[in-house]
Amino acid sequence: MHDSDGFCDKSAHRNGKNANNGRYGRYGRYGNYVFPIILIIPLPPIKRCTLRRTPSNFTHDIPPVSRKIPSHQNPVSSTPAISIQSLTKEFKSPSLFQRGSITAVKNLSLNVEAGSVYGLLGPNGSGKSTTMKIVLGLVAPTSGRTFIFGRDSRDVDSREAVGFLPENPYFYKFLTGEETLHFYGKLCGLRGNKLKNRSKELLELVGLTDAAHRRVGGYSKGMLQRIGLAQALVQEPRLLVLDEPTAGVDPVGSRDIRDLILELKQRGITVMLCSHLLGQVQEICDRIGIMHRGELVREGALDELISIENQTEFVLENATPELLKELRVKVEASGARVVGQHKPQQNLERYFLDVTNDPKK
C-alpha cells in the first residue's frame, strides 16, 4: 500500500489494514501519525493522497481479543449477499378512526456484494430498520422482493446464512452468557461438543470468557452488545446484519466491535450495518446507501461519494515557514488555489484511548 515516497492509499485503512504491519489501526484512520500542517489545494488530480511518516511504535495496536473466526471456503461469490428489488413497504394507520397509510420504504433497489461491508445510513424514520426487517423476513413487503444469497428472504431457510444484531438488544436475563449462546446455537441445529466449543470460541472472541457464567441481567450495555454479536455469529453466518452495533458502547468497546467487523470482512463475511456514527461507518464501509423518507437518495462506493475530486491534501512534517511560503507561491503561480492551511488535530477517540489505555491489557 506504500509507494517509495511514503504515499499511502487511504483505502488500505478502510480495508482494515494498517500500511505498516498489516494489523488494524487502533486509533482510526490516521493511527499515531503526526500531522503538522495540512494544505488543501484545488487541483484536478486523479488520486487523493496523504503524505505521512509511518510510526515506529505501532505494536500496541493489536486487537485485544484472539481471532478464531473460521473463514469461508468460498467467501466471495458472484451472487449478491443481499439483493433488494423494487421494495415498497406501507404501514396502515394503527388508528381505527383514521384511514390511510404511511410509506416507510419506497421502490428501493440495491445489491450488497458478497464479502463487502455495506452501510445503510439515514436519519431516524428514513426506513433503514424496516428495510433490514424485510430482508430478515420479520416484516412482509407491500411489493418488491428481497433475496439473501439468491434465496427469497421470506423463506426460513434463507436465514441459515444470516446473523442479526438488533439495536439495543436485551436477552433472557435469567440465563448466563454461555447458556444464551447454547440456546441460539441449538436453534441453529448445533449440539453437543460442537456447540460447547463454538460457544467457548465466541465468548473468547467477544471478550466475555470471564463473564460466561454470569447472568445476562447483570451485563453492562457494552457486554450486551458483545453477547449479541456472539449470538449473531453462532452458526458461522455468511452475512451479518447489524443495527447500531456500537450504540451506547464506550469508545474502547466501540473500537473492539469495529475491529471485529473488519476482521469478519477479512474472513469473507458480508456485513450490512446501520449506524448514526458516520465516522465509524467511514472507517469500515466499502459502500454506503443513504436513505431519506423511505427512498434511497445516494448509493455507491464510499471513496467515490465523498472524495472532492478537484482538491488535493498534503500533510507535511517539519515544514519550515519558508518552504510553506515557497509552496504557496508556486501553487498560486501554477493557477491553482490554496483553499486552506491548518495544523491537524488528533481525533477525540484517539485522545480518549491514550488517556484510558490500560497497560496491563
Binding site: 418488491g144 441459515e160 442479526f164 438488533p166 438488544p169 435469567f174 436453534l187 441445529g189 449473531a232
Partner: protein, 325 residues
C-alpha cells in the same frame, strides 16, 4: 411484485420446516426462564402453604374431613395452576418483542409456528413441574391425615388377639368381628383418600391450565400490551366458566316451554368454540365427594383438552403470522 429476475441461489442442504430440536430448545429455554423468576416461587410457596393449611381447616369445617382436605388441596392446585398459566404466558411474547429478543430468534432459521409451540411447551413444562410439586405436598397432607385417622380407628377398634384368632378360624366373608371391622374401616379410608380418580383429576387440572396458557398465548399474538392480554385471557376463561351454566339454564327453560331460539344456539356454539368450556374440565367436585370418575370421562375430557389446545395454537399462529414485528 417486481418482475426482475431473482439472483441464482447456491445449492444447500434442505431446511426442515418443522424441527423438534428447535421446539425443544425454545421450550427448555422458556422453562428455565420461567422457573428462575421469583414470582414462580412466590406463587408455588403460597399454594403449598394453602395446601398444608388444609390440615388446620379440617377442624373448622362442617363437611367431612376428607372432603374438606380434597376441596382445599385440589382447589389450590386448580387456582394456582390457572394463575400461573395465564400470568406466565401473557408476558412471553410482549417481553420478547419489547426486548427485541424475538428479532434475534426469528432471524435464525426458526418459523413462527415453532416459536409459538416452543413457548407453549415451555409453559406446560413449568405447569407440570408446579403441579407435581403441589401434588406431592397434597399427597403428604393426605398421608399425614390418613395416619392420624388410622390411629383413631385403631383406638376405636382395639386389637384382641383371641377374638382375631377365632375370627380367622371361622373365616366368613360377612364376618363383623371387631378386628375385621377395623380393617374394613382402614381399607375404606385408604380407598377414599387415594385412588386413580384423584390423580386423573389432577392430570385434567394440568390439562385445563395448559388450555388457559394456550388461550393467553393466542391473545398475546394480537394484543399490544401485557395488561390487555391478562385481562382478555381472564375474561375468556371467566366466560368459559359461566357460559355452560347459562347454557344449562337456557336448555332447561327450553325443555319446559319449547325450542331454543336458533340465534341463541348459534351464539352458544360460537362462545363454546371461542371460549373454552371450563366446566367440562371440572372433575374436582365429584372427586371431593368421593365419586369414582369412569375412564371414559377421562378420555373424553383429555381429547377435548387437546382439541382446544390445537385450535388455540393454530388461531394464535394465524394472528402471529400476520403480525408486523
Amino acid at each position: 411484485m417486481s418482475d426482475a429476475a431473482a439472483p441464482s441461489a447456491p445449492s444447500s442442504p434442505v431446511h426442515r420446516m418443522f424441527s423438534l430440536g428447535r421446539i425443544a430448545a425454545l421450550a427448555g429455554n422458556t422453562l428455565r426462564d420461567l422457573i428462575r423468576q421469583k414470582v414462580f416461587y412466590f406463587m408455588l410457596v403460597f399454594a403449598l402453604i394453602l395446601i398444608g393449611a388444609s390440615l388446620v381447616l379440617v377442624s373448622l369445617s362442617f363437611q367431612g374431613e376428607i372432603q374438606t382436605l380434597k376441596d382445599v388441596g385440589l382447589g389450590a392446585i386448580s387456582v394456582f395452576t390457572m394463575l400461573l398459566a395465564v400470568l406466565s404466558s401473557a408476558m412471553l411474547l410482549p417481553k420478547d418483542i419489547e426486548d427485541r429478543t424475538l428479532y434475534t430468534i426469528l432471524a435464525k432459521p426458526v418459523t413462527r409456528f415453532e416459536y409459538l409451540l416452543g413457548k407453549l411447551s415451555g409453559v406446560i413444562a413449568m405447569l407440570a413441574t408446579a403441579t407435581v410439586l403441589m401434588t406431592a405436598c397434597f399427597c403428604g397432607v393426605l398421608l399425614l391425615w390418613q395416619g392420624r385417622a388410622i390411629d383413631n380407628i385403631e383406638m376405636n377398634y382395639p386389637v384382641d388377639m383371641k377374638a382375631e384368632s377365632v375370627a380367622a378360624a371361622t373365616a366368613s366373608p360377612d364376618s363383623t368381628a371387631p378386628q375385621t371391622r377395623r380393617e374394613l374401616e382402614i381399607q375404606k379410608l385408604e380407598s377414599e383418600t387415594f385412588n386413580g380418580s384423584l390423580f386423573g383429576a389432577i392430570a385434567i387440572l394440568l390439562l385445563r391450565a395448559a388450555v388457559c396458557a394456550a388461550v393467553t398465548l393466542m391473545v398475546s399474538c394480537f394484543a399490544t400490551s401485557w395488561l390487555f392480554t391478562v385481562v382478555a385471557a381472564f375474561m375468556m376463561i371467566l366466560i368459559g366458566h359461566i357460559v355452560p351454566i347459562a347454557r344449562d339454564a337456557w336448555q332447561a327453560q327450553a325443555g319446559m316451554g319449547g325450542e331454543l331460539a336458533i340465534h341463541i344456539k348459534l351464539l352458544l356454539m360460537g362462545i363454546t368454540v371461542f371460549c373454552p368450556d371450563m366446566q367440562l374440565f371440572n372433575l374436582v367436585d365429584d372427586i371431593a365427594v368421593g365419586k369414582i370418575i369412569p375412564m371414559e370421562v377421562f378420555m373424553q375430557t383429555t381429547a377435548l383438552g387437546f382439541g382446544y389446545l390445537a385450535i388455540y395454537v393454530f388461531v394464535g399462529y394465524l394472528f402471529f403470522a400476520w403480525r408486523e414485528l
